[in-house]
């Protein structure tokens, strides 16, 4: 029994030591020589770096200012070449964008009682197509006489002040304004749950549209829900408050 225990401890020590040696060998053995890459037309030596590096030279051309040529015969005769659709796909897939409700009705706004309304955005594209949907408001919610409900800052303070590109919690009924939240596919990651809101970027103050849906590799029928929210204070003048939100869906290039 004593012999077997000693043998077991010895084995563990041996395994541990071998593993340590093996690990150290791979960690310390970082010397990697440059890999020559040759062809009849050029020679490239690429060092073991995280980006392409090394000297690149050729007898026929310099890599830094090479020019390619379009299909020469066709181009010179017709004067143009047209390619429709994404060349890495075998078919021209149409790009479709749907919004379930374009009239976002808050009803009669009651001070201190948040009003919410939703709409669904759906993008239908091929399985490898890339797209984006941006949003921008054509000014804040305002009456014809120019009285406005300001864009929300969310609950405010150090931790909960949101902006056009960062959603924060907007749950306090004493926090007034107009904003939106999102849930569903391909939405910005800062919309953590339904209490997280952002204000829209504003066209009238020359802000840029913000991406609200995007994907580098999408499936069919990518869908998200936009929840619009308005909350007014008791001193907000009565009136019919309106604005237009522009959602623009474009495929990538």
């Amino acid at each position: 029994m004593v012999f077997s225990m000693k043998y077991l401890v010895f084995s563990i020590k041996t395994i541990f030591f071998c593993f340590l040696l093996y690990t150290l060998y791979f960690i310390l053995n970082t010397h990697v020589s440059a890999i020559p890459m040759d062809s009849s037309r050029f020679k490239i030596e690429s060092a073991n770096v995280e980006v392409a590096g090394g000297s690149k030279s050729s007898s026929s051309y310099k890599l830094s200012d090479t020019v390619g040529q379009l299909a020469a015969g066709q181009y010179s005769s017709d004067g143009y070449i047209v390619k429709a659709g994404f060349q890495y796909l075998n078919l021209i897939s149409p790009f479709r964008f749907s919004i379930s409700n374009t009239n976002i009705n808050f009803g009669v706004l009651v001070p201190g009682t948040p009003s919410v309304a939703t709409t669904n955005l759906t993008v239908y594209f091929s399985e490898v197509g890339q797209y984006q949907v941006t949003a921008i408001e054509e000014g804040p919610l305002k009456t014809q006489s120019g009285k406005a409900i300001p864009d929300t800052n969310c609950d405010g303070g150090t931790n909960n002040t949101c902006n056009e590109s960062l959603a924060k919690v907007w749950a306090a009924i004493s926090s007034y304004g107009f904003g939106y939240s999102m849930s569903g596919n391909d939405i910005p990651t800062d919309f953590i749950d339904e209490t997280y809101f952002r204000p829209f970027s504003d066209l009238t103050v020359v802000e840029s549209p913000i991406i609200v849906m995007a994907s580098t590799s999408v499936g069919k029928n990518r869908s998200s829900t936009v929840t619009f929210k308005a909350n007014i204070s008791s001193i907000q003048p009565a009136g019919s408050y309106q604005t237009v939100i522009n959602f623009v869906a474009t495929p990538s290039y």
Binding site: E50, Y80, I92, P94, V248, A249, T250
Partner: protein, 330 residues
């Protein structure tokens, strides 16, 4: 008797009338469709147009715009765009600029003039693209936009009206000679995550998913289209190859490339390597940009060891030794 019969017939006809009335009344509620809010659904094809053209030439391209939602007024316009980031997103500029001239060949349509499109109907858009003479070689990028007019405002309530816009990008390369300027450079070819010991030493557990990032900068004045592979080589000579998806890289911009099979990850990546890795692995990439164009290379390495399995074995051994010792003491 006759009166009774007439009365009876009248009652029956009255009953029939009531029955029919109730039937239609109930049917109205049961079978009438739900009242729906204004829905907009637009489709535009082709989603991308690449045009290589000489100065003083013009071409006509046919687009198909479909309305799959409620009837709506639509407005067509062209605006320039630029690359917003290295992920293939775009920033549409607010005002038209550049030398390329656009118009519609449709007799009944003009750019920036609204037209009506019924539900489930389509409109062919005949877009004329003209390049004036004496234009210097270069690339110009535009988006054809179809805007649905937002619904009319409701009085007396607070409301946000939604304008729905769909776009299709147009990449125009103007070249008098047919030559294009190709100046690519790999800006990043790297592995993400793992334990980092130095710039070139990243260590993973054997079962980890290993995200690879490959980004190419186009310093030339024309769009380029990468073609190539990422090759994974193990220390025992095993090899796996992943094709790079040939997505456009706009002039003087950068793009994160994608290789197949792609997978979703918390941050944008080119490729996710999965499997059981042991030892040192080298990843190389070779990217071309069409005929008579340069080939660029990148190389990086990573290490993987079965830490979790070995940790488990070690833990189990310690527990066994502990148990044996305890039994021996008892």
């Amino acid at each position: 008797m006759i009166n009774k019969q007439i009365n009876f017939k009248f009652q029956i006809s009255n009953f029939k009338f009531m029955f029919l009335f109730l039937y239609f009344f109930i049917s109205l509620f049961l079978y009438s469709g739900n009242v729906q809010a204004q829905q907009v659904s637009l489709s535009l094809s082709p989603p991308l147009l690449e045009l290589f053209i000489k100065p003083d030439k013009s071409i006509m391209v046919a687009y198909k715009l479909e309305n799959l939602g409620d009837p709506t007024f639509l407005n067509l316009k062209i605006l320039p765009f630029e690359a917003k980031d290295n992920l293939g997103n775009i920033r549409i500029k607010p005002e038209f600029e550049g030398p390329v001239r656009f118009s519609l060949d449709n007799s009944d349509l003009k750019l920036d003039q609204p037209f009506f499109l019924k539900t489930n109907s389509s409109q062919q858009i005949l877009l004329r693209i003209r390049i004036p003479e004496n234009i210097t070689d270069g690339d110009y990028y535009y988006t054809l936009l179809a805007e649905a007019t937002p619904p009319t405002a409701s009085e007396g309530i607070g409301s946000a009206r939604v304008k729905t816009t769909i776009g299709s990008n147009i990449l125009v390369t103007i070249s008098n000679s047919g030559n294009v300027d190709i100046k690519p450079k790999i800006s990043l070819f790297s592995i993400k995550g793992g334990l980092v010991f130095s710039q070139n030493v990243r260590i993973f557990d054997s079962s980890d998913k290993i995200p690879v990032v490959l980004s190419v900068v186009n310093k030339g004045k024309n769009t380029i289209k990468p073609e190539g592979q990422i090759t994974l080589k193990g220390n025992l000579g095993e090899t796996a190859k992943y094709d790079i998806i040939s997505k456009n890289i706009l002039a003087e911009s950068e793009r994160l490339l994608e290789a197949t099979p792609s997978a979703s990850y918390s941050t944008p990546t080119t490729l996710i390597l999965s499997g059981f890795f042991v030892g040192k692995y080298s990843l190389s990439t070779q990217i071309m940009f069409g005929e008579n164009s340069p080939t660029i290379f990148g190389l990086t390495t990573f290490y993987a060891f079965p830490f979790k399995i070995l940790g488990g074995i070690l833990l189990a051994t310690i527990i066994i030794v502990f148990i044996i010792k305890r039994r021996k003491e008892e």
